[in-house]
Chain length 205, copies 2
DNA sequence: AATTTTGTTAACCAAATGGTTAAATCAAAT
DNA sequence: ATTTGATTTAACCATTTGGTTAACAAAATT
């Protein structure tokens, strides 16, 4: 069984790419099935032939998008590296990933907030990172007197905030500080090193 | 001219309160005029009697919501207080304000991102805070050798990120760190002091 | 009290939108 | 060459939704 009539790229893949583009930009409520079909260069009926309905299609896109957020956290925090390396690689890799998908954080966070708490648990089910190792390493550093006593929750919040928020607050930040798109991206590139440095400076004793 | 037929609360105010509730929760695209009417306990036609259309109503709500973000920044940064006091009061007051409107940041940032760049400039027109004084104070501290040399843009981004992001990433953060709603609010209360402390520790020489 | 103005509603309308149907293509199998 | 089964499309349908109309009710004005 060779590939059927499907065009080169594969209709299903074209649809997924188009859907991702439209959903990420407009959100579940703002997205139109017709727009997705147009973007994919196909008929609207064909869209429903491949994906039963809007919700099913959305779920697929959302799961894939949300999935990008957690596994990376998990891998980094569980890795067999030191406390400081973990912070460094988390910031570097996270900011890097988000730079390649600047609208993903807003999309995921926004849709996540619309879901009921129960659904959220289901979404993260299994993919939740085990923080205990990271927290353990942190408490070791505290006990050894190398870093100040700070609640792990706050440190993690601070780290994620500084990595992700600039992309969510981009329009406001750009307006407030009067910076262009290229200046923004340059600043983000800097932050891959600047954020971990800021954190180390804050916690080092 | 006494008040007309309007019920005690004033129909217009009831509408605005209802609209804010629905828009902030569902966003422009997800909000339904019927839902707003129901929430306000009035007929849908009456909604259009007070506000010509959905867009006009949305603009009013959005302007009021977005307006809460900037003026406070402005007032604090321009105030005749010291560099450190400004950071303290910014974090304290900002987190306080957001705690009272936990869904406001997501709403404003999300709608802002959908607007074209030109519209954003118009929105912030005039209300843009003058950062020069704050930056000047900061550079003085740097020159005096009391804080490390750090780009003001990064400091401001870090400060705003740590104050605002937890409310935007709340579902994710709550899931990742397994905390309840009350635990979350307790943590936010702590952050009013913890964030400025974190910042001072990071920049102090 | 009569009249005009303002506030409120039920019923209605047109456009948009998610989804379906039935026919048409096309590639593979017979 | 014919048949078969999957793919694709144009046309259509039902519901939702923003918005309007016309009539009614309550104040305000005369």
């Amino acid at each position: 069984m060779v590939k059927k009539k499907e065009t080169d790229a594969g209709t299903e893949q074209k649809i997924l790419a188009a859907a991702k583009k439209v959903f990420v930009k407009k959100g579940m409520d703002g997205a139109r099935m017709q727009d997705i079909a147009d973007e994919a260069g196909i008929n609207k009926a064909l869209l429903h032939y491949y994906f039963r309905n809007k919700e099913k299609l959305f779920e697929q896109i959302f799961a894939e998008s949300a999935g990008r957020f957690i596994p990376k956290v998990k891998a980094i925090l569980i890795a067999d590296t030191g406390f400081y390396e973990k912070i460094e690689s988390f910031c570097g890799e996270y900011i890097d990933m988000v730079m390649q998908n600047p609208y993903l954080p807003m999309f995921v966070m926004n849709e996540l907030q619309k879901q009921p708490a129960a659904m959220i648990k289901k979404i993260f089910k299994g993919s939740l990172p085990d923080l205990s190792k990271f927290i353990g390493q942190m408490q070791e550093e505290i006990k050894a007197g190398r870093i100040k006593p700070i609640h792990p929750a706050h440190l993690i919040m601070n780290m994620m905030s500084m990595c992700i928020f600039p992309f969510i607050g981009r329009p406001m930040l750009s307006a407030v500080m009067g910076i262009s798109d290229t200046q923004f991206m340059t600043a983000m590139e800097e932050r891959k090193k600047a954020v971990p440095k800021f954190i180390f400076d804050a916690i080092r004793k």
